[in-house]
Amino acid sequence: MREKIRKLPLGLIILTILALTGFASVICRYLFGLGAVSNMSDGRGWGMWIGFDLYCGVALAAGGFTTAAIVYIFGGEKYHSVARPAILTAFLGYLLVILALLVDLGEPWYIWHAIIYWNIHSPLFEVAMCVMTYTFVLALEFSPAVFERLHWNVPLKIIHAIEIPLIILGICLSTLHQSSLGSMLLMMPTTLHPIWYTPILPILFYFSALAVGPAVVMFESTITGKSMGHEQNHEVMEGLGKIIPWILGIYLMLKVGDLLVRGNFGLVFTDFPHNILWWAEMLIGVILPIILFSIKKFRRSNTRLFWGAALVVLGLIINRFNVSLINLQMRPGYTYFPSWVEIATSVGLFADAMLVIWLAYKVFPMIKHSQHDSPTALKQD
């Protein structure tokens, strides 16, 4: 027990330091401008804030809609304990995306222009609209936790009444913009490397997000479980681990089938060094997890399941970096590596989210919340 008390503050201190450094970096960005603090250039108009914060951030927030679908639409009641943490993580993920965009945009004070000036042909317009609406939907989906804590029964009842439509709306919005982040890259047929450029990019984005959703939930709930000192439910972990190889299997078939149809499969053997990056994302994030999660013995241990989930997450991050940064040769002759301010900002925002999650576990009923939260459970009573 004493060990736990000592462990927790150290993590908190590190997170706080990272958050404050990130905050200082953001101040620098606003004072001196993008050119002064970042390594972006005309040839590299997008940097780490788009590659990591937007592309990885949105995908890693997929745990929200996948878990909501499993619990509320497909009737997987046993996953109820992870629904609320997953929705909170997704909500924070989207808040982070918006904050990162406020840092990355050249004119962040005009971000509201996206609401009044519409270009419905732009995939980015779709992303912007979905991110905005879905963040609001996620806030509503999480609001029962706040209302329960404050004992506000009237708004709680209202939210419960519209819970299912909200969940369905959230799934639809997620489907749209998880895939439209892929559509955004369809505009770059000449600059995105042919191993990755394909007309089915939106579908690949969607399936990789579906697979990483449960993995993020496993990853995150294990870490919070460890730091909060409660045992992670094995049934939940194993169940989620069972789902992942199916989705990854479809994803793998799409990835390889697409390369074969386009006649570019040879590139993954010949086109050094790009092929190394392709093999990295496929072996770490797809092939290895499919094998591991399919082994019964492997699924017996929570620790192993956690590391399996970590592989899926890592593979997805490599994939998103591959398509949005490393293999997107925006203009020939330019190189890019993020500056310290860019890295500190991204890390700082991440630390902010971790701190809020830690706080939420302390303040709100996250896991052992009342049974009537589930409408199907309500009916059974």
Partner: protein
């Protein structure tokens, strides 16, 4: 402007009896003029690199018209080819390429600037519609809409839009095809100043015909390719050269517009949205019903067990 004049003329026509017959041809002429311009794909520019001597008068004229300061080379050891040719204060520049085949060096000068695509990726990418392809040819930029996301810079197949990185309130900068000069009936500043006739401003379709004629007249001078006629679905700026365009740094791009796949994906958004909503609602109702049935049978079982 046209409509104003037309309505003014109509008004005068109504008020002055008899004069209507005299003024009515004017609007008719004006509208037919607009139509013919639409049929020609708007205005274009033909760059004949065999005529360019690399004097850069066009670069200076462009800077003057757009009030852009000069960009001095800081490092004397670097030629201007070693540094990026375009920046937020340079909308056009000349790329010098040595295409030496024998012992003698042979320099070819290629003017680079926005190509003003017929189906521009930047305009499709821009989420607020700050970039627009006008009917008369130029791809214009409206900074009062821009939020600075830089998607246009990444989506441009020619790598043209630049950013005011040094500014705390940065905007996108690129060649405007002197849309403001064109609106006044003037030709762009660059072609207006070109002393060798390497730049020719006219209707795009006429320029394509002329370019074909030039190739036919001197097949030994030109390669048989008009760059920009079909590249990414056609561009307002067209190029002629004596060597393959790749050697001059003009990228080897597809003939299909860059926006095609994105457009297809965006067209699928409404059906996917509706389909997903229907699928999820259906699944929810099925799950709910199955749960109810399960509850009923388990209740019956309980009752059966009790009566037994």
């Amino acid at each position: 402007m046209e409509i104003d004049r037309r309505s003014f003329l109509k008004l005068s026509a109504a008020s002055i009896a008899g004069a209507a017959v005299l003024v009515s041809p004017t609007p008719a002429l004006a509208s037919s003029g607009n139509e013919s311009q639409a049929n020609t794909n708007g205005k274009g520019m033909l760059v004949d690199t065999t005529k360019c001597v690399g004097c850069r008068a066009c670069v200076v004229a462009c800077k003057q018209w757009n009030h852009n300061p000069s960009s001095p080379v800081d490092d004397e050891s670097k030629t201007h080819n070693d540094t990026p040719l375009l920046d937020s204060k340079t909308f056009t520049n000349i790329r010098a390429t040595d295409v030496q085949q024998g012992l003698e060096p042979k320099w070819v000068y290629t003017k680079i600037q926005c190509m003003h695509c017929q189906k521009p990726g930047c305009a499709e990418a821009c989420l607020v519609g700050a970039l627009k392809k006008t009917e008369t040819g130029p791809v214009t930029y409206n900074e009062s809409k821009c939020i600075g996301c830089r998607y246009c810079m990444v989506a441009c197949p020619f790598g043209i839009p630049t950013y005011q990185w040094e500014s705390v309130t940065p905007w996108i900068r690129k060649c405007t095809f002197c849309a403001n000069r064109q609106a006044q009936g003037l030709q762009p500043a660059c072609s207006g100043t070109c002393p060798t006739g390497a730049l020719k401003f006219a209707n795009r379709s006429e320029l394509i015909d002329e370019a074909k004629q030039r190739i036919a007249d001197e097949p030994q001078l030109y390669i048989n390719h008009i760059y920009g006629e079909t590249e990414v679905g056609g561009t307002s700026w067209l190029y002629l050269a004596s060597v393959p365009f790749e050697k001059l740094g003009l990228p080897n791009v597809q003939t299909e517009p860059v926006v095609v796949n994105a457009e297809r994906a965006m067209g699928l958004v409404p059906p996917v949205l509706l389909g997903m909503a229907a699928l999820m609602t259906g699944t929810y109702l099925v799950t709910k019903r199955r749960k109810k049935l399960q509850a009923k049978t388990s209740k019956k079982d309980e009752q059966g067990a009790k009566t037994k």
